[in-house]
Structures are given as structure tokens and as C-alpha cells.
């Protein structure tokens, strides 16, 4: 792939010194820009380890990782933090919002870490994100005062505020009910369609994985399957319809 956003070559992660565990073993793949891919596997298969390596939260024992054309091997802790802020958005199973801050402040936290000042352009971007996520009118609320679905949507908004090329989502709907799960995936699709954001979603839920464009399966630390999903990508019209439903329901809730 000529224009790969993610290029992983022989990624290996070994834990321990005396008794070694190979959590990830020689995993290589590429993710193109604009893809929505799922990483599936059972608990302990190594998918979270892979996500930690791709998210620059951990370093590989062996192998090479290039993100957006930038080699990450040997990067200092400070450089990896800076790359995380610039290139990556995270959506976790738990929303991980900062309870001391409002929804608006949580949303803008990655931009504040990047040292950006809240000017008219950034304000417009944040307001657009709020609208897309169906969070209008909730900016001044404390993050703790939201429902579970709303919190997760704020977390998604936060992941998108720096407009990163890649969003890594680790079981992003693991704590949500069916309605909110559907809403989150429709949101991913909409953002992917509108902003070209690439999504890599770690999940153990086959049904969710089936909604993506591509499925990578990890078993015992090895990449055992990498398949294109013919039914994963719904039409833009379907996405738009789903989003309208989602936003109406969230507006009704709030």
C-alpha cells in the first residue's frame, strides 16, 4: 500500500525477563487512510497489546511501526506523547472523561495539550463536533452529570478534536446498551465519511466487527486473518439516516 497510514512490520512484544511471554509475535500489516478496521480476538490474544503499541502507549520489543509516514521506533517518551496528541485519537471502553471539567473543557483537552488557543476557528470546530455528536446544549455541564451514552460520545468528540488521521477504539461500546452501541458505530461511519478519519476498533464482538470494512484477527499473539468485509460499509444514505435517528434520540434524552 503506497499511502499507508499505519505500517506495522514484525511487531513483537515480549514481557518478562526470566520467564518470557510473547504477547505479540511478528505481526505485520498496513492500514490505509479512510479505512474502518476491526481487530478481533479472544481475551488475552494480544489485541490490547497491539493497540497499546499502535497508540504509542507502549514500545515494541522488536519490529517497526510507521504512523502517517513517521517512524516511531526509538522515539523518546516526550516525542511519543507529542505524536499521540497529534496523530491519534483514543476511545476507550470506559469513557475516561475528567470529572473535574465540563463537557466543553473535556472536548478541548487534546487541543489544550497541543498548546492551541481557543480562537474562533477552534470554537467553530468544537461546536461542529458537538453537533455531529448530538451534544448541543451540554457544553457547560459537568462530565459526571451525563448519561453513559452521552459520556462516550463526549469521549469520541475528544478523540476527534485534534482531527487526528487515526482513531484507536478499544471496546468503545463495551459498556453501552444496544441503542447507544448502534449510535456510536453510526457516528464512526459518519465521521469516517465526512472527515476521512481512519478507525481501528478492537473488539471481541463479532457482530460489531462485521460492521467494519476489514477484520484483523489476532490469536496467541499472531495475526491469523486479515479479511476485507464485503458487508461492513453501509451506504452514505444509511449512515445519514441512522445519524438523524441517533441525534433525535439523544436530544430527547438531554
Amino acid at each position: 500500500m503506497a499511502d499507508a497510514l499505519v505500517l506495522a512490520e514484525g511487531l513483537t512484544k515480549v514481557y518478562g525477563t526470566l520467564e518470557q511471554t510473547r504477547a505479540l509475535d511478528d505481526v505485520s500489516f498496513e492500514i490505509g487512510r479512510g479505512e474502518i478496521a476491526a481487530v478481533i480476538g479472544r481475551s488475552g490474544s494480544g489485541k490490547s497489546t497491539l493497540l497499546n503499541l499502535l497508540g504509542l502507549l507502549d514500545t515494541a520489543t522488536e519490529g517497526r511501526l510507521v504512523l502517517d509516514g513517521r517512524a516511531t521506533d526509538g522515539a523518546s517518551s516526550r516525542d511519543r506523547a507529542s505524536l499521540r496528541n497529534e496523530l491519534l485519537g483514543f476511545v476507550f471502553q470506559f469513557h475516561h472523561l475528567l470529572p473535574e471539567f465540563t463537557v466543553w473543557e473535556n472536548l478541548l483537552m487534546p487541543t489544550a495539550i497541543a498548546g492551541k488557543t481557543v480562537d474562533a476557528a477552534l470554537r467553530e470546530l468544537a461546536e461542529e463536533t458537538m453537533v455531529v455528536l448530538g451534544l448541543e446544549g451540554l457544553g457547560g455541564k459537568n462530565a459526571n452529570d451525563l448519561s453513559g451514552g452521552q459520556k462516550q460520545r463526549v469521549a469520541i468528540g475528544r478523540a476527534l478534536m485534534n482531527r487526528p488521521p487515526l482513531v484507536l477504539a478499544d471496546e468503545p461500546t463495551g459498556n453501552l446498551d444496544t441503542e447507544n452501541t448502534d449510535a456510536v458505530y453510526r457516528l464512526f461511519r459518519r465521521i469516517n465519511a465526512d472527515w476521512g478519519t481512519t478507525f481501528l476498533i478492537v473488539t471481541h464482538d463479532q457482530e460489531i466487527a462485521s460492521m467494519t470494512d476489514r477484520i484483523l484477527e489476532i490469536r496467541d499473539g499472531k495475526l491469523v486473518a486479515d479479511v476485507r468485509n464485503p458487508v461492513g460499509a453501509p451506504s452514505v444514505a444509511a449512515v445519514a439516516a441512522g445519524l438523524t435517528t441517533s441525534r433525535s434520540s439523544s436530544a430527547a434524552r438531554s
Binding site: 497508540g55 499521540r84 471502553q93 489544550a112 495539550i113 497541543a114
Partner: protein, 381 residues
């Protein structure tokens, strides 16, 4: 400035915890300011009471009983020293005060009133009559006057050496603040003692000198000894070793109290900040995952410590000064009370130490934060 904003928010969202730690620092600093000023003022008061009206450096003849010659050369050395605040050439004689059958020994110091006033402050201390030492006049102490029924204007019969009997007039009665001194000391002009002792006009029993800082007296005396041959130069510190030892012991115990207070304050801040770091582990992990550098997350706790330190120290200094004002007001009516004067240098040092302690206390949480792996937080929810 993001770390500062986050630090301020963390503190604001835990008002009770923040308030308690600020109160802890404030109490510690207040104790520092109060105890430090109290001890310093107490020592100043003790020194003033003990040697405030005594020479800090004395010039005498090498041989006891001989007069010291206060020549212009000697005067240049003494008066030319910038540390000197008072120079009093004195002539001291012993006499017997005679009234009826009473014969009471008196130690009479003769000199110019203007000179004597610089050390003995006779003008302020005159409680009856006038501060006056014209020829034929004498001033006596309040306890002496009370004991022997002497009043202003009364004649005072004095028997000097060789049965030389003189009658002087009591011009004023003074209170030196010490019953012993008030009962035995008297002042007169320079001429009567000169005649009684048979001295030349430039000869004195001693030249009493006071210096701005009494604790420099040894250095002053040492410097003068090298320049004044044939004159015995002594300083008060040699004659008051017990007092100095007591003052030093008091200082040492005061420093110990202050050190323990500081240690208690430091432990209080450190433990609270450490608890705060543990409480905020999740938030710090999230911020790191979002791309905040280790240095910036550590700076959050440094800012927290700074905010707590500034707030606690400012409150503590205010509280300390209020305690000093309260103490001074509360003891104003007591005759043995002494004024506590807030020592600006000491207040400054206490404030600086308070800040330093607060910053040092943030070492543990900042190190803990720098080591925190965001994966632990993210995966454990």
C-alpha cells in the same frame, strides 16, 4: 499554563482537602512567625534590660584605681568608629549618704548630663523633679528616695573620702528599672568627683561606650586594643558569660521548636499531596494518554504545591502578625510585658521556608506521576 489550570481545578474540586492543607501550612507559618518574633523580641528585651543602660565597651587604666586619660587621640579612635552610638567619660566615686543616724553607701557617677543621658537615659527616666546635674546637684534613684524619705530639692549630705563632707541638692529622682540600681546609684556633674579623686580634666574612671549591635562589642574591643596602648579595653560579653549562655540556649531551643514545626508542616503537605496524587492517578493517566508529556503532568503537582504554599504562607504570615498584635494588646497593661516586634527578615525567611517546604513536598507526587504508565489506568477503568 495548562498544568496550572488543571492544578487549580483539582484543588477547587476538593475544597475541604485544599482548605485543610492550606490551614496546616498557615498554622505552621504562623507559629514560625510568632515564635521567631517572640524569641527575638524577648532576647532584645532581656539584652535591653540587662545592658541597655550599661557600657558595651569600657576603657579603663591598666591598673585598677588609676585614671584613664581620654586624650584627643583616644577620642578620635572611639568617636571615629561608625559602630559607636554613645561615648560617656565617667568619674565614679563612692560616698556615704548621711541622714540622721543612717549612713548609706552610694555609688556616684559623675559626668555631663548630655553624655550620661545617652546611656542612662536620665531625661526619660526622671520620675520626680528635673533631670539636672548643675554644680552642687545630685540625682538619686526612686527606691533610695522612698527608703530614706528624700524628695526633690532636699539636701543630701555626702561623706567622701578623707571625711570630705559635701551637701548637694537633690534635683531629680530617676527610675532605672532595677531596684538594686535605684537604691545604690546616684548621678552628679563631672566636677565634684574630679576634685574628690584629684584627676586632671582629661582623666576619668572609665570611658563607657555603647555600640549599635551589642554583639559586635567583642570585635570592637579587639580592634581598639590594637590601637590604644596603655588602656584596658573590656566588653560586656566577657563579664556576662552566663547571660550569653542563657540567650544561646534560648535561641537553640527556639530553633529546635521551629525545625520541628517545619518538619510537621512538610510531612502534612507531603502526605496530602501524595494522597492527592493517588486520587488523581486516573486523571493523570488519561492526560498522558491524550498526549500530555511526563514533565507537564509532574508540573500539575508542582503547581498544586505552589498554590497551596503561597495561599498557606500568606494566610500564615497574616495569622502570625495577628497573633503578635493580639499578644501585644493582651499584655500591654502588664508591667513586666515586653513588646513583640514582627521581624521583617524573620517573616521573609518564614515565608520563603514555607514555600520551599511546599515545593519539596511535591517531590514524591511528581516522581510518582512521572512514573505512571497510562496503560494501567486505561485498562483498569
Amino acid at each position: 499554563m495548562l498544568p496550572l489550570k488543571i492544578a487549580a481545578r483539582f484543588l477547587r474540586t476538593s475544597p475541604v482537602q485544599s482548605g485543610l492543607i492550606i490551614a496546616g501550612i498557615a498554622v505552621g507559618i504562623a507559629v514560625q512567625v510568632f515564635v521567631g518574633s517572640l524569641i527575638t523580641s524577648l532576647q532584645a528585651s532581656l539584652i535591653e534590660r540587662t545592658i541597655g543602660s550599661s557600657p558595651h565597651v569600657s576603657l579603663r587604666a591598666l591598673k585598677d584605681g588609676d585614671p584613664v586619660t581620654f586624650s584627643s587621640a583616644v577620642a578620635r579612635v572611639v568617636r571615629g568608629d561608625s559602630r559607636v552610638t554613645a561615648v560617656v567619660p565617667e568619674r565614679d566615686i563612692s560616698a556615704l549618704f548621711s541622714k540622721g543616724t543612717d549612713k548609706v553607701p552610694l555609688s556616684i557617677t559623675g559626668g555631663d548630663l548630655a553624655d550620661l543621658n545617652t546611656i542612662y537615659r536620665l531625661r526619660q527616666r526622671t520620675v520626680e523633679g528635673e533631670p539636672s546635674l548643675r554644680p552642687g546637684e545630685i540625682m538619686v534613684g526612686v527606691d533610695f528616695a522612698r527608703k530614706y524619705g528624700v524628695k526633690r530639692g532636699d539636701p543630701a549630705n555626702l561623706v567622701l573620702g578623707g571625711n570630705d563632707v559635701r551637701t548637694l541638692t537633690v534635683s531629680g529622682i530617676f527610675d532605672l528599672g532595677s531596684a538594686a540600681a535605684n537604691e545604690r546609684t546616684a548621678f552628679t556633674g563631672p566636677e565634684l568627683p574630679r576634685q574628690a579623686l584629684g584627676y586632671r580634666p582629661d582623666q576619668y574612671s572609665l570611658v563607657a561606650v555603647q555600640v549599635a549591635d551589642p554583639f559586635t562589642s567583642t570585635a570592637v574591643a579587639t580592634a581598639w586594643r590594637a590601637r590604644l596602648s596603655g588602656i584596658k579595653v573590656t566588653d560586656w560579653q566577657v563579664d556576662n558569660k552566663d547571660l550569653l549562655a542563657a540567650l544561646n540556649s534560648q535561641s537553640a531551643s527556639s530553633y529546635m521548636i521551629q525545625v520541628f514545626v517545619l518538619v510537621a508542616v512538610a510531612l502534612g503537605i507531603a502526605s496530602t499531596l501524595a494522597i492527592s496524587a493517588v486520587q488523581k492517578t486516573r486523571q493523570i493517566g488519561i492526560l498522558k494518554a491524550l498526549g500530555m508529556a511526563d514533565g507537564s503532568t509532574a508540573a500539575i503537582f508542582l503547581w498544586q504545591a505552589s498554590i497551596l504554599g503561597v495561599a498557606g504562607t500568606a494566610l500564615g504570615v497574616g495569622l502570625g502578625l495577628a497573633l503578635i498584635a493580639g499578644f501585644t494588646f493582651g499584655t500591654a497593661s502588664s508591667p513586666s510585658a515586653f513588646p513583640i516586634v514582627a521581624q521583617p527578615v524573620f517573616v521573609g525567611i518564614s515565608a520563603a521556608v514555607g514555600m520551599l517546604v511546599a515545593l519539596l513536598s511535591s517531590i514524591i507526587p511528581t516522581r510518582k506521576t512521572a512514573r505512571l504508565d497510562p496503560i494501567e489506568v486505561i485498562q483498569n477503568g
